[in-house]
Symmetry: C2
Subunit: 242 residues, 2 copies
DNA sequence: CGAGCGATTGATCGCCATCAAAGTGGGTGG
DNA sequence: CCACCCACTTTGATGGCGATCAATCGCTCG
């Protein structure tokens, strides 16, 4: 077999990219870099694209890379030995994947929609962090906010009813969905009902049923399967407990 | 009222302390400090003691201090508006309390047993971290391991049965309990059944019943209410799923 | 038009919560 | 020292929420 241009041969390796005009320029870890630092940083990474359903990494595999999501949604999940699945979170544009001190990925990450990421070798990333201490602060901040989200999810899974879980989830999703001023609050749900169920510790039938309840109560309205309008925000917040 | 010696008047403020001979010297955040740094750090903190049941801080209150646990066990919990409680974790000697970027405590912390902590004003602690960047790394590491633990708990709460939750919990507690070589694996359970139930997303009756099952199966044996011997570790691990 | 997958809706089951009562053990005061 | 109390734990009986099993719907794609 001939040795050929790797970037052309491997669809995972897209062409080099510029950070200027990056859609998550203000959100991501890299926003704490100066222009000069950014140029160095950029050159150590590459772009990567995933199709819906395509895995980025598997729980337990060696964590050779860290990533910043620039487009699309990923599903982060852990499995029990018998196949039961818990979705521990979703990753959206601007999110950093790589908060761990272990050598192994703490979860499986799979594309829910079409996804684009910036990818950096972990070894190089660590070296870069070592020489730019203020990035460490940014990483710590990312870890702390992931931790806060995880604790809220502990309360949801440990103590909320199915109806409360769904209401909380939908409100959470409105915060990560684009809104148009003057229009009703929206939530984009790129994931399947199975993903939602595995995130909320429920079965898909329950998710479907509770969603039905919210619809007949006039609190929300589905526009297709993946877009939802919140017609009564207060009512939904009331059902979310907290 | 007379102004008197504050340290004597306020039982929370114990006398100044030395870090040498500290029981968690090797575990805690401070273990990444040189002797000189440590001397500076120590002088900015004070010791604090809590009686069983006594609160250290309340969820939502201003987080004016950070702490390192030197003795005893704390219960970390969050409440829903109607009083349902989720214990998000326990803190043991060596653990650091203060991983957050918010101004408010992310949970209520209460002493389970008699507790001793080292206490630092958050403002001073932050300043110290600023001038000692390698501490930031240590903090990040603490956040990452808390995050990993929280994700495991998400799987437990979202997907495990009552029996599996209890088995996982007991095995987890053996890791934080002192062991004597040659003797059976032990777990010290300083917290009440209510605390365990609120940690595992169950009710106390269920905890008690499942514990009964493990006893009659010959997997464990209770020695008093707060100490447990693991008679069949493999059997217990089997019941913990994962 | 038919295959196939995801979502919805309906019927029944089972795990764990709830309600109830008895047991245990540590601390206090007589 | 013992009787009593109170909080915590254990054990028993019943019920409900969400899981499971099953059938249908609806959309996309070949």
């Amino acid at each position: 077999m001939h040795i050929r241009n790797l970037a052309a041969a491997d669809p995972q390796l897209a062409d080099d990219h510029s950070c200027f005009g990056c859609p998550v320029r203000d959100l991501a870890i890299c926003n704490s870099l100066t222009q000069i630092e950014l140029a160095v940083f950029r050159d150590s990474g590459s772009k990567r694209r995933l199709q819906p359903g395509e895995p980025l990494c598997w729980e337990g595999d060696e964590a050779a890379y860290v990533y910043t999501v620039t487009r699309g949604t990923l599903r982060l999940s852990k499995l029990l030995s018998d196949g039961r699945r818990q979705v521990t979170g979703f990753a959206f544009p601007g999110d950093f994947l790589g908060v761990t001190m272990e050598d192994e990925h703490p979860f499986t990450a799979e594309a829910v929609s079409e996804v684009e990421l910036c990818q950096y070798r972990r070894s190089r990333f660590d070296a870069f962090v070592d020489s730019h201490p203020h990035i460490e602060r940014r990483l710590y901040s990312a870890a702390a906010s992931e931790l806060a989200a995880a604790r809220d999810q502990l309360v949801l899974l440990g103590r909320k009813t199915a109806a409360e879980r769904l209401a909380s989830f939908l409100l959470q999703m409105t915060r990560r969905s684009e809104q148009s001023p003057g229009k009703p609050l929206r939530a984009t749900l790129p994931m399947t009902r199975t993903d939602i169920a595995d995130y909320l510790g429920l079965r898909i039938e329950t998710v479907s049923r509770e969603l039905g309840m919210l619809k007949t109560s006039g609190l929300v309205r589905m526009v297709g399967v993946h877009e939802l309008w919140v017609l009564d925000r207060e009512g939904l917040e009331l059902r979310g407990a907290d």
